[in-house]
């Protein structure tokens, strides 16, 4: 069963095409990450799915309804965390959660949400006095207080420190374990890799990839060769193709090659000449970040080439 169905979605602002012929589905219980550079159309897509904006053309169904015309019962089934913090600073955390809990037919207990967002000790604190990271967690708390079947997260961890980000990921993982469908936008590839079953990549308003994270990584045409150089290794004597990939600061070489055999042969010959052990050598597909950068840099007409529904 699909929680979200998008078919041939277009969104135009005057002459500007913000979204062009975007189609995808998100199954119930799935976690999908919407990736793309700034201005790619991520937030526009999310706002159409949330009912804030009408599509210019195409079909959009969320939990079986057209979001723009859905009623109160539909809104009780979704939760959302907006891109920027949107809170009343004069309320305490507990008061804000209590007010929102009163809007839903089957809310989570406030105490449970406080635990989930790790703010149980700050329930009585005014929101305006919290740190940016804590306020972001309150945003997440308000998004999940109604026990949503579908949760939209628009860059939920932007601005959080690494520890707070990992905490937010743990919260999302606990929600998804309950079967909540999640559509999130993020700039962090690590976040998509960790949380998402599916990755949707938008570039210039077009969907250029729709795949599992590992599938996306495997799509890179080049193989990645990484070798941590031992101290004193004569990097200048490496074959030219490998020498170009040496990063003296990181003390490693990273090369992307279409001819793995020739590249490894060159590296092995160099190591043999200088009696160097190749311990730590890695050969594999590119990272998700590398695959992503290759996609968003690709021409728009590459969409058909790379699309493959998970």
């Amino acid at each position: 069963m699909s929680a979200i169905t998008v078919e041939h979605l277009h969104k135009r602002y005057g002459e500007l095409a913000a979204l062009s012929d975007v189609s995808f589905e998100v199954a119930a219980g799935q976690v999908a990450a919407l990736l793309g550079p700034n201005g790619a159309g991520k937030t526009t897509t999310l706002e159409i799915l949330e009912g804030y904006q009408p599509p210019s053309d195409g079909v959009v169904e969320v939990l079986g309804s057209a979001p723009r015309h859905a009623g109160r019962a539909w809104r009780a089934r979704i939760g959302l965390v907006l891109q920027s913090t949107s809170l009343d600073g004069h309320l305490t955390v507990g008061e804000a959660l209590g007010v929102y809990a009163g809007l839903y037919p089957r809310p989570r207990p406030v105490a449970e949400v406080l635990e989930l967002i790790d703010l149980a000790d700050d329930a009585g604190a005014r929101i305006g006095r919290l740190s940016g990271g804590q306020r972001r967690r309150v945003d997440v708390g308000l998004g999940i207080i109604g026990r949503p079947e579908l949760l939209f997260l628009d860059e939920p961890t932007t601005g959080l420190d690494p520890a707070a980000r990992r905490q937010a990921w743990a919260t999302v993982e606990r929600l998804t374990a309950d079967g909540t469908t999640v559509l999130l936008t993020t700039h962090y590839l690590e976040e998509a890799q960790r949380l998402a079953d599916r990755v949707l990549v938008l570039a210039r308003g077009r969907l250029v990839a729709d795949a599992r994270p590992d599938e996306l990584r495997g799509r890179g045409r080049l193989t990645r060769v990484r070798y941590p150089l031992p101290p004193g290794a004569p990097a200048g004597d490496l074959p030219a193709a490998l020498a170009a990939g040496v990063d003296p600061d990181a003390g490693e070489l990273v090369a992307h090659t279409a001819d793995v055999t020739a590249t490894l042969a060159g590296l092995v010959a160099w190591a043999g000449r200088h009696r160097i052990d190749l311990a730590g050598l890695e050969v594999g597909p590119p990272s998700l970040e590398e695959a992503y950068l290759a996609l968003v840099g690709a021409p728009a007409d590459a969409q058909e080439e790379v699309r493959s529904h998970a």
Partner: protein
């Protein structure tokens, strides 16, 4: 996927939702120090200043200070709060919840009305206890009607005006510019002598002068029954209804430059 709510787990009805909104909006207003300063401290301060000039405080002076506090909360505090909430994305989030929109508006305006009436009561109490102002024995009902209608008129207009305020920073100057000239010309701090006839007529049709006149008449009431000038009530009712209708048509839930 979590199970959808069953028929036994219905959405909260309108009355509980409205009660929750009223409680929430009252909390916000009570914790807004700027609003309390403007609506309670300023009118009492100006009352004290006026009291030093009179052996016994004239009813019109007390009425002016009461109306000042009530309308400051109903217009300035109310509208500035709406703009701040809209620009901070708070209203956008509310719009995505199952709360009916009318319920949000009703809660907000009821809370503003209650705060405005409380401000009027504080100023009135200060006038009676500090300066032995004469208040007619039957003033309560007429006063409540005049202040309620005046506050609703200003709150309705204030809600509609937010559509034309582009940012939170612009709210205070634009609201002050549209409020203080009207109120000063309406005699809230004393009668304005020498104003041209056309200006006096214009001010009589704005919601300031009718509020001051109706409250003055109410404070003078003695019979215990409703005794208010019909024209003033009609003008205030027209502004209240017109303001609310304009709000329904013009109100924005999101910042103008959302994208």
């Amino acid at each position: 996927m979590p199970e959808p709510a069953t028929t036994a787990e219905r959405l909260p009805g309108p009355l509980p939702a409205l009660a929750g909104q009223l409680r929430y909006q009252l909390l916000l207003l009570l914790r807004n120090p700027n609003g309390l300063m403007a609506g309670v401290v300023l009118p009492v301060l100006l009352l004290v200043l006026a009291g030093t000039q009179h052996a016994r405080l004239p009813v019109a002076t007390l009425a002016g200070r009461v109306v000042l506090g009530v309308t400051l909360i109903a217009y300035l505090t109310h509208a500035a709060g709406l703009v701040a909430a809209r620009e901070a994305g708070v209203l956008k989030r509310w719009r995505a919840t199952p709360l009916p929109r009318w319920c949000w508006f009703a809660g907000r305006i009821c809370a503003t009305l209650l705060m405005a009436l409380a401000s009027g009561a504080v100023t009135l109490l200060a006038g009676v206890t500090l300066y032995h102002a004469r208040v007619g024995a039957g003033a309560a009902l007429s006063l409540l009607a005049a202040l309620t209608l005046g506050a609703l008129a200003w709150a309705g207009v204030g809600t509609a005006v937010t559509a034309f305020i582009p940012t939170a920073e612009a709210a205070q100057p634009l609201l002050s510019l549209s409020y203080f000239p009207v109120m000063l010309l309406s005699g809230v701090l004393g009668a304005v002598a020498g104003a041209p006839g056309w200006l006096t007529a214009l001010v009589g049709d704005l919601p300031g002068r009718p509020t001051v006149d109706a409250v003055t008449r109410a404070l003078e009431a003695t019979g215990g029954t409703l005794s208010l000038p019909g024209r003033d009530l009609a003008v205030l009712a027209a502004w209240a209804v017109g303001g609310l209708l304009a709000s329904v048509a013009l109100f924005r839930w999101e910042p103008r430059a959302a994208r």
